[in-house]
């Protein structure tokens, strides 16, 4: 357990820096606003206790919110997906469960498995995020399409990052 702390603290900081100074700065369109920082939540080990998932994702969301001037929106969406992450992992678990000592990564379970797992979490997160931001069901179709396009982008960048920098 303890040996994970420095590694995941670093991941936490890198996720925030990349999100705040790269992805938030690229203001290209409403359809380009990926929530890359979800990578942190996705990669946490299987054994992570639920309180850890919830609290780290709350803090992560709040920091992202603070930089984006959107009080609470990212925090709410991220806490929700942190809450349902164990259920989603159950849904995708192999027949005899996850092997002890592994974490949800491409190197252990393959890119198809990782993509499916990422996609489900990211889509739920993005739908929540953009509906909370709009705070109305007017323009619902636009909101849904913005959420879906951004989900795909988020998945793309998260999986890409797995091949570039967070390999182990």
């Amino acid at each position: 357990m303890i040996k994970w702390i420095p590694k995941y603290s670093l991941l936490f900081i890198v996720c925030i820096l990349l999100q705040v100074f790269i992805f938030n700065e690229m203001q290209i369109s409403r359809y380009f606003n990926p929530s890359f920082y979800l990578l942190f939540l996705l990669l946490l080990p299987f054994e992570s206790p639920r309180w850890l998932l919830l609290i780290t994702s709350f803090v992560l969301g709040l920091i992202i919110d603070a930089y984006a001037n959107t009080p609470g929106i990212n925090a709410a969406a991220t806490v929700f997906v942190a809450f349902i992450r164990p259920e989603i992992l159950n849904l995708f678990s192999p027949r005899d469960g996850f092997e002890p000592g592994t974490s949800p990564r491409i190197s252990y379970y393959g890119v198809t498995w990782f993509f499916k797992y990422t996609l489900v979490i990211v889509v739920i997160h993005q739908l929540l995020l953009f509906f909370l931001e709009a705070f109305t069901f007017r323009f619902a179709l636009t909101t849904i399409s913005v959420a879906l396009v951004n989900s795909l982008l988020t998945c793309f960048f998260i999986i890409l990052s797995q091949y570039i920098m967070f390999r182990k």
């Binding site: 309180w51 709350f58 001037n69 009080p71 609470g72 806490v79």
Partner: protein
């Protein structure tokens, strides 16, 4: 008691989830009150600092364009100054320049952070102007930074008028495109054409009158109401903002005090 404790322990994740989610939702909802953006206020200082360091870097890339804009703006100001000199009015609005250190355009509730604050005399509700049109109002201040609520925030409303005939309306934003805003409350019998210039009305304690807001880009009469449905092309390009002006109206405090004493 013991049962309750055991229940709490068993479902602690659910309770923790509810508490954190509740806090987050409370934050979202609290920002709907105009003066209650405490969250932004508290974080303005620290975040402004890091954002400024970053934008110092990116400012270099737009320096040339910015210079051209400033030269044009200076020229305009010189002309204005002469106009004012001739009028011999003692309460001349005061301009302060500020640099944009953080801005968003693709959200529903966009904000701009600028690099001057209370120490430079910035107060809440002061008007913010760009080189080519109105930007918004100061919402929160810290000693060295301030956040601005721009036209492109769904909570922003502003009283404006049509230059050609002087009719008043209310400007708001529907959250769709950062280039367009909506003008409401113009009665259908008023003559409105596309291309008409929209100016601030002066019916506000923050904005001087006759400041450019934008031009009418689309106008149609709605079927069931007696009002126009007007789309305004905003004069300010919110995506290109790098520096802005804060306007200090010398008499606005006095006006506010007087108006408040009426209630």
């Amino acid at each position: 008691m013991r049962k309750l404790l055991r229940l709490l322990l068993k479902y602690y994740a659910v309770f923790l989830f509810l508490i954190l989610e509740g806090t987050a939702i409370a934050l979202i909802v609290s920002q709907n009150h105009y003066h209650n953006a405490v969250f932004i206020n508290a974080s303005t200082g620290i975040l402004g600092y890091t954002s400024e360091k970053w934008s110092n870097l990116t400012h270099y890339f737009s320096l040339k364009k910015e210079n051209e804009k400033l030269i044009k703006e200076n020229l305009k100001l010189h002309r204005k100054l002469e106009e004012i000199n001739y009028k011999d009015n003692e309460y001349v609005p005061e301009y302060i320049t500020a640099k944009v250190v953080n801005a968003s355009v693709f959200k529903q509730k966009n904000y701009i952070t600028i690099n001057i604050g209370e120490k430079h005399g910035v107060k809440k509700q002061m008007a913010v102007m760009g080189h080519t049109g109105v930007i918004g109002l100061v919402e929160n201040t810290s000693p060295h930074y301030a956040t601005v609520i721009p036209i492109i925030n769904t909570r922003f409303h502003l009283s404006v008028k049509i230059k050609r005939n002087g009719y008043f309306g209310s400007l708001s934003w529907d959250g769709q495109s950062y280039q367009y805003a909506q003008l409401n409350d113009i009665p259908a019998y008023v003559d409105v054409n596309t291309g008409d210039t929209i100016l601030t009305s002066g019916l506000s304690t923050s904005f001087p009158d006759n400041k450019l807001v934008g031009t009418v880009s689309k106008a149609k009469k709605t079927k069931n109401t007696a009002f126009w449905d007007i789309q305004i092309q905003l004069g300010t390009d919110f995506k290109q903002l790098t520096s802005v002006y804060i306007i200090k109206l010398p008499l606005s405090e006095e006006q506010k005090k007087l108006e408040n004493s009426n209630d």
